[in-house]
Amino acid sequence: MAVAQRSGRSRYRLLLLLLTAATLLTLDFRGFGPLETAQSRARDALEPVVSVFDAVLGPVAEVWTVMFSYNDLRSENAELRDEVDRLASADIRSAAQQDAFDRLLDATGVTYVDDVAQLTATVLRDSPGNFDDDAISIDAGHRHGVAPGMAVVTSAGFVGRVEIVDAASSTVTAVSDPGLVIGVRLLDTGDVGLGHGMAGDPTRFVVDAGLRWPETGDLTELPAIGSPVVTAAGSRYPADIPVGRVASVEPAEAGLALLVTVELAANVEDLGYVTVLLQAPTDEAPVGPDSPFPQDSP
């Protein structure tokens, strides 16, 4: 009797917990402000401790990485030796400094957007879990003028979108995330479509909505392989940011639509610095009969 009562009570408690979780999920989906603020405050409160842990455990983690990527490092080392032989004068330290400098230049030398304020940020760390491969933490937050929805780029091209903004840090969803939909324009044909990252391949991007297979059947109307792809003017992000180059073109939806695979311009897996374009993000991309984006807004 007592056992049954206890089990009934614990079931009731579990139900309450699940209802609470469902309520939180619903509020989060609806973008409930106080909930986001509370999460941001919690992260801000823990950030100093996380930084200290990072500083203390960083060298240990590096030792681990060295131990288990020995073969990769050896081949990399051989390549570096060749380079050192060729350059002769460069020592390892200056090479490392040069590398950091190059990466900084990569991030700050954004030439394709003129009229938008830019902020250079350092990449703090990669995703903490096993399901967040496309999340990147950067050291710029709302103190620096960063807001959710802003575009993040390098000199190579589009890197992602600012998703969560805390006081001094932010989380960026990389362009390789299959959930991040972006409005793009194929420069070769001028066609506009919607694309997203490909699960399991952070170097590719697929444009699978809004493009039509040529009605005439003339294959010369297809975008050329290697032709550039940029952000579209009607998308949420500033226009003409390089996204990548067309890697393959194939028919979809029984030959009515066009599926374009794009080789991403920016390498989102190895980022040291990035540039945030401080342009107030558009809440919704224009959707409607006159818009290039028919249904799901990017």
Binding site: A22, F29, A42, R43, F53, D133
Partner: protein, 209 residues
């Protein structure tokens, strides 16, 4: 004839001062357990956020917040374990890009199920605990991916899911060797029977002397 009244015995009651001090003792013990749990969980979270964001085996990191939730289910039972797991999941949710409440619901469900199923099982040796942690972590990671997909998250169920489930569960099982004593300490539990068994001969010998 007068009906005989049944003898009424006064209930055995404790003096109010004793009751009050017992309640205070119980309250302070709960506070202590709560504080210890916070310490253990924060340590796990910080390790996950810093060390294990770089240190991975086969590109998979252990799931320390899930480990705490699973151990809570095993050691604290379905009733209390599910509550601890819920809070563990909620704080982990703060750092994930998936919606708030997803990990909390998953952790609570798995901790409850694990607590209920293993209630009458003997699981106080390290190997038994490790096996249960393996099963619990596998269930947690799989349920998280499944629930996430149900609520519309992309990219959770993909080719590498099986690898993530197996490697993360194996890593958690190994790490449970250190995490289980920490959770026992946090929950104010005694040492496992098997560990005590090892000490018995030594103690008996000492007493015999």
């Amino acid at each position: 004839m007068t009906a005989r009244r049944p003898a009424v015995t006064a209930p055995v009651s404790m003096p109010p001062t004793v009751l009050r001090s017992r309640r205070l003792l119980a309250g302070s013990r709960m506070t202590l357990i709560g504080l210890r749990l916070i310490v253990v969980y924060l340590l796990a979270l910080l390790l996950q956020l810093t060390f294990f964001s770089e240190v991975r085996v086969a590109e998979v990191a252990p799931e320390l917040p899930a480990l705490v939730a699973v151990l809570a289910g095993l050691f604290a039972g379905a009733r209390h374990g599910s509550v601890i797991a819920f809070w563990a999941g909620l704080l982990w949710d703060v750092y994930l890009s998936t919606p708030l409440g997803l990990a909390a619901a998953t952790f609570a469900l798995v901790a409850y199920a694990l607590g209920a199923v293993t209630e009458d099982l003997f699981h106080d040796t390290r190997i038994q605990t490790a096996v249960l942690v393996f099963i619990g972590t596998a269930a947690t990671v799989a349920a998280y991916a499944l629930l996430g997909t149900v609520v519309g998250q992309r990219g959770l169920i993909e080719d590498r899911l099986l690898r993530v489930v197996l490697v993360a569960s194996a890593l958690n099982a190994v790490l449970s060797l250190a995490a289980a004593p920490a959770m026992r300490w946090a929950l104010g539990m005694r040492r496992a029977k098997s560990e005590r068994k090892w000490r018995k001969p030594a103690e008996a010998a000492r007493r015999g002397r």
